[in-house]
């Protein structure tokens, strides 16, 4: 909103420095976004919050200035001669929808001459960013900018029966608004009608057929008060936003109706020949009375944390238009009609506080009255984040919404859909973080970053009909090399087992009884046979594997991408591993290697299971796998290393021998695995 310094000076004496004035307004809650000098005029660009329609005009700002600087406020003069003929002889106003229009004030001007406005008025409008049209239209705009109340001028002679009816539109009615568009109306819309047809969309925009034209001689001025909700709904439905609707939506001043109509009449003499008919039509079926509100002295001090002197309280409220009267514990004041935002004690406290100055309020720290509560799973989350970083994954954050196409590919069942999506690419709340990570990998590859490790801590979304779940999700994605080539080593491509180890390192921090990998139940955006479910005593906690190369190809990623999706809530529920000291062995371990001949198709997990529990067997792990001519058909050669460990007593050869035989026997009988000769 643009405010002219010279216009403010019509109502209040200003501090000399515009900078000081701007700073003072800002610190009272009327944020000055900029100060501009144009043709000797100082223009303030103000950002008025939506609760203060009363300040969206020059007089409203002048009232604030008067309160801040404690200076007298002079309202504009509204004296003018009236014709002997009375307004009632020339026009009639009826309110049918009093719930949406409690007051409608009309004045009639006869014998006007439509022409350009005088320079001084055109200049003010232009400096405020309003285009001058003709003297009568300009007059309504001028009063809007001055007093903040939207008014409308009808060509009286175009109104059938010179009659105004304020009513809801009928179902099949149409009208053409000033912007030339035909509007199909509904009973939800409040209209101003003449005897037969709607002539204005109430509080939003006038109609084309009754607008002021070069031929206009007689004018009906409307100054009414419309229900904010009704104006808002109509303006929204038609996608219209006008200076009038902007103010009515936020709540106009019921008493300003009379004042605005009179102010227009008062200015007519400077703009046009013509006369103002005697009196005004004031259709105001039910007098609106606002209640008075009490302000307790103790409550004021208790809320602000600072005591404001009584005389300051009274001065501030009075200058803002309140009339505080002393009571036993403070004051009581009626509420001025322009301040619909003030209706409670706390609202008065804000008024006093902001004009008194938040800057004068003390700075204190509240006493600590209770110990903080720990956040659930705080340590569990910190451990996951620290591990992921240690493993070399860069932490990213991605959008929670994905495209319909991705939702189909990466989800199962009905996803959570947005009713009003930002764009086609963001219509569904993601059921999986996989697409987020894959798009990020693709983004990096597009910029030549071919070795990427990314992880995202976030949520995935499911549910519907009022009930939703947002489980915590960790997704890890890697592509390119696990190790870049360097002076000491060759490069090594990132593979399934790299990601598997990373996931195991993470899971190892939590208190699971066991962690096993198998190739069942993996979603089809992974490559079958190169992906796994990770199961624990708390069920499946993760999926890890290579991403379907076709999906990668569509994203222009032409290198293997590995992805892990981890259900963090299950890790957190398991809790962190609780280490417990075990005495250190006093003798070294014994190691033995076995070269086994294993039938194809027997996975290592089965071999490990087959040997069962063996006394003192500390480790049993694969060292080398070999397939080739030297290995009999249908088999592979597997070198495993067994390690025995006892705490205090060295092993005798016979003991190890016996243990080894038992292991080999189990493998032979259960899995037909033999020693390679």
């Amino acid at each position: 909103m643009r405010i002219l310094r010279s216009w403010l000076e019509d109502f209040v004496e200003l501090p000399e420095s515009s900078e000081e004035l701007g700073a003072a307004l800002t610190m009272a809650g009327m944020a000055v976004d900029g100060v501009e000098q144009v043709d000797g005029e100082t223009i303030f660009e103000l950002d008025i919050t939506s609760n203060r329609p009363d300040a969206m005009n020059h007089f409203g700002i002048a009232r604030e200035v008067a309160a801040i600087f404690r200076r007298p406020l002079t309202p504009p003069r509204v004296e003018f001669p009236e014709d002997s003929r009375t307004v009632g002889e020339f026009a009639r106003i009826e309110i049918e929808a009093a719930d949406l229009c409690p007051r409608y004030v009309g004045r009639v001007l006869l014998g006007v001459e439509i022409k350009p406005s005088p320079d001084w008025l055109r200049r003010r409008l232009e400096l405020c960013g309003t285009r001058p049209i003709n003297n009568i239209a300009d007059l309504t705009n001028y009063v809007l900018l001055e007093l903040g109340h939207p008014t409308h001028a009808f060509d009286l002679d175009t109104l059938n029966e010179r009659r105004i009816v304020v009513r809801r539109a009928r179902a099949d009615e149409e009208m053409r608004t000033l912007d030339g568009l035909d509007r199909k109306l509904s009973p939800a819309d409040l209209v101003i009608a003449d005897a037969y047809r709607p002539v204005a969309l109430a509080g939003v925009m006038g109609g084309l057929e009754t607008e002021i034209s070069d031929r206009t001689k007689n004018v009906l001025i409307e100054a009414a008060w419309f229900h904010p909700g009704s104006i808002r709904r109509t303006a929204r439905r038609f996608g219209m936003h006008t200076e009038a609707s902007h103010r009515f939506e936020r709540g106009a001043d019921l008493e300003a109706t009379v004042w605005a109509a009179d102010r227009i009449a008062g200015l007519l003499g400077q703009l046009s020949p013509g006369v103002v008919l005697s009196g005004r039509i004031d259709a105001y079926p039910t007098q609106v009375q606002r209640p008075s509100v009490a302000l307790r002295r103790a409550r004021l001090a208790g809320m602000l944390g600072t005591t404001v002197p009584d005389e300051d309280v009274v001065d501030i409220l009075s200058r803002l238009g309140f009339s505080p009267q002393p009571t036993a514990d403070g004051w009581r004041t009626p509420l001025p009609s322009q301040r619909l935002d003030v209706e409670r004690e706390i609202d008065l406290i804000e008024e006093v506080g902001r004009i008194y100055g938040f800057g004068k309020i003390a700075s204190t720290l509240p006493p600590m009255a209770a110990a903080p509560a720990p956040k659930p799973f705080e340590d569990e989350e910190a451990a996951a984040r620290e591990t992921i970083r240690g493993l070399g994954y860069d932490e990213m954050v991605g959008y929670s919404f994905i495209s319909e196409k991705d939702a189909e590919r990466f989800g199962s069942g009905e996803p959570v859909r947005l009713r009003n999506a930002v764009s086609e690419l963001m219509t569904v709340m993601r059921p999986s973080a996989a697409p987020t990570l894959l798009h990020a990998i693709a983004h990096n590859i597009r910029y030549g970053e071919e070795s990427v490790r990314l992880a995202e801590f976030g949520r995935v979304y499911r549910g519907g009909s009022g009930t939703y779940q947002e489980p915590a999700s960790l997704a890890m994605a890697a592509t390119g090399s696990a190790r870049e080539a360097n002076l000491q080593e060759q490069s090594k491509a990132f593979g399934f087992y790299d990601l598997k180890s990373d996931v195991e390192a993470l899971l190892g921090r939590y208190d699971f009884v066991h962690v096993d990998f198998d190739d069942r139940d993996v979603p089809d955006y992974y490559v079958p046979g190169r992906s796994a479910s990770v199961r624990t005593d708390r069920g499946r906690v993760a999926i890890v594997g290579e991403v379907d190369p076709q999906i990668c190809d569509e994203l222009k990623v032409r290198q293997p991408v590995f992805l892990a999706e981890i259900e963090l809530d299950k890790l957190y529920d398991a809790g962190l591993r609780r280490p417990q000291y075990r005495p250190l062995p006093r003798v070294p371990p014994v190691e033995r290697d076995f070269s086994l001949l294993v039938p194809e198709g027997v996975p290592f997990a089965e071999i490990r299971t087959a040997i069962g529990l063996v006394d003192y067997l500390e480790r049993f792990e694969p060292v080398e796998i070999f397939r080739g001519k030297q290995v009999p058909e249908g088999h592979y050669a597997l070198l495993v290393r067994a390690v025995w460990q006892r705490e205090t007593e060295s092993f005798r050869d016979e003991e190890i021998q016996a243990s080894a035989v038992a292991i080999l026997d189990s493998l032979k009988t259960k899995l037909r695995i033999t020693l390679r000769s």
Binding site: G29, R236, T306, G392, F401, L418
Partner: protein, 358 residues
């Protein structure tokens, strides 16, 4: 027959074949001396030691078994003496060789220590996360608890309970994304004020953070998803002065002592009085620039005293309890702190960007 073979032959057979005790031990000694001079590394030395002094298969152990233990009674003293001499000589020589090798270890080819080793990459912490953690630790020092709360939220918690009149432009200004008629993506973290106050008896002080959503097309300064942090404190006598003091403390700890603040009246439906906290413009140090519109200040956060209607909808008596709340965009603070000019960088997973925050 090689010396190794001889070491495993019974002494009597060797003598019968023409060897003598002296010649046998001299040959052993010569062989050892020869091999010892060839030692030039710790590995060589270990091999030499194993070959000669190995407990089971070493040559000296073999000679002990085949020669000494099997010696005819009359030769035993002589063999025993020679066996003992050679063992001591070899042990001494090995000891000396150990020292030589260790000394040698310091004289190997020098490395170019300026060459890089293989890269060990630690993952980066996202700049918003960094900012968040810093802020959380400041409020934890002041005794605040931390919570998050749901992102898919009801109209009630997001608006109604926070004193947004159903038919008010403020609801429009939030540009809400809906998933159902009365369910939406939270537009701010404030619904958690209600959720927490409903469950927690005062006094309470909380920090709530998380993702929030607005129907904004993404560009350099807008993002349909961003991250917010909100602090609130409720007790019987919490005042605007407490709000001011708390925020000033936070700003000093986070931005440094040189930063000035000002509390400026504003409007939010869920606070009354409402204010915005401005801080010295970090881009021009308060001298005035394009970004701060020449004011020397930039807007940091919105705050105020919790509106009595909000306390009431959370089941608290506003005549008894008062509180303050303050909320801000973590993204904006991170962008200020790290001089990031494009919000989309925070959400596209570009590792060239993320790695700057290792």
């Amino acid at each position: 027959m090689t010396l190794d073979e001889k070491a495993h032959q019974p002494l009597a057979e060797l003598i019968a074949a023409g060897d003598s005790v002296d010649s046998l031990y001299s040959a052993l000694k010569d062989a050892f001396e020869g091999e010892r001079t060839a030692v030039s590394s710790a590995d060589d030395l270990k091999a030499l030691r194993d070959r000669w002094m190995g407990r089971k298969n070493g040559l000296i152990a073999a000679a002990n078994d085949a020669w000494l233990k099997a010696a005819p009674r009359e030769l035993k003293p002589q063999v025993g003496k020679r066996q003992n001499e050679i063992r001591q000589a070899i042990e001494a020589a090995l000891e000396q060789a150990q020292n030589d090798v260790a000394a040698l270890g310091r004289k190997r080819e020098a490395l170019d220590v300026t060459l890089p080793g293989p890269e060990r990459r630690l993952g980066a912490k996202h700049p918003v996360r960094r900012t968040l953690e810093e802020i959380l630790s400041i409020f934890r020092e002041l005794g605040y608890s931390v919570a998050e709360g749901p992102e898919i939220e009801s109209f009630f918690y997001n608006f109604e309970a926070l004193n947004f009149p159903a038919d008010h432009p403020a609801v429009d200004e939030m540009d809400t994304l809906f998933v159902e008629d009365k369910m939406l993506l939270r537009t701010h973290t404030s619904p958690n004020q209600i959720r927490i106050m409903e469950k927690t008896p005062p006094p309470m002080r909380y920090v709530v953070h998380g993702k929030v959503y607005r129907n904004d097309a993404p560009d350099a300064t807008h993002s349909p998803m961003f991250q917010q942090l909100e602090v609130f404190c409720v007790d019987e006598n919490i005042t605007l002065a407490d709000l001011k003091g708390t925020l000033e403390h936070f700003v000093r700890r986070f931005f440094g002592r040189g930063i000035k603040t000002r509390l400026r009246p504003s409007f939010f439906p869920f606070t009354e009085p409402s204010a915005e906290l401005d801080i010295t413009c970090v881009f021009c140090a308060g001298r005035g620039c394009r970004i701060c519109k020449q004011t020397g200040f930039i807007e940091l956060l919105g705050c105020g005293m919790i509106d009595p209607n909000v306390l009431r909808s959370a089941g608290l008596d506003p005549e008894k309890y008062q509180g303050f709340a303050a909320g801000f965009g973590l993204d904006r603070i991170a962008m200020n702190k790290y001089d990031i000019n494009d919000i989309s960088l925070l959400y596209n997973g570009d590792t060239r960007f993320l790695r700057q925050f290792r």
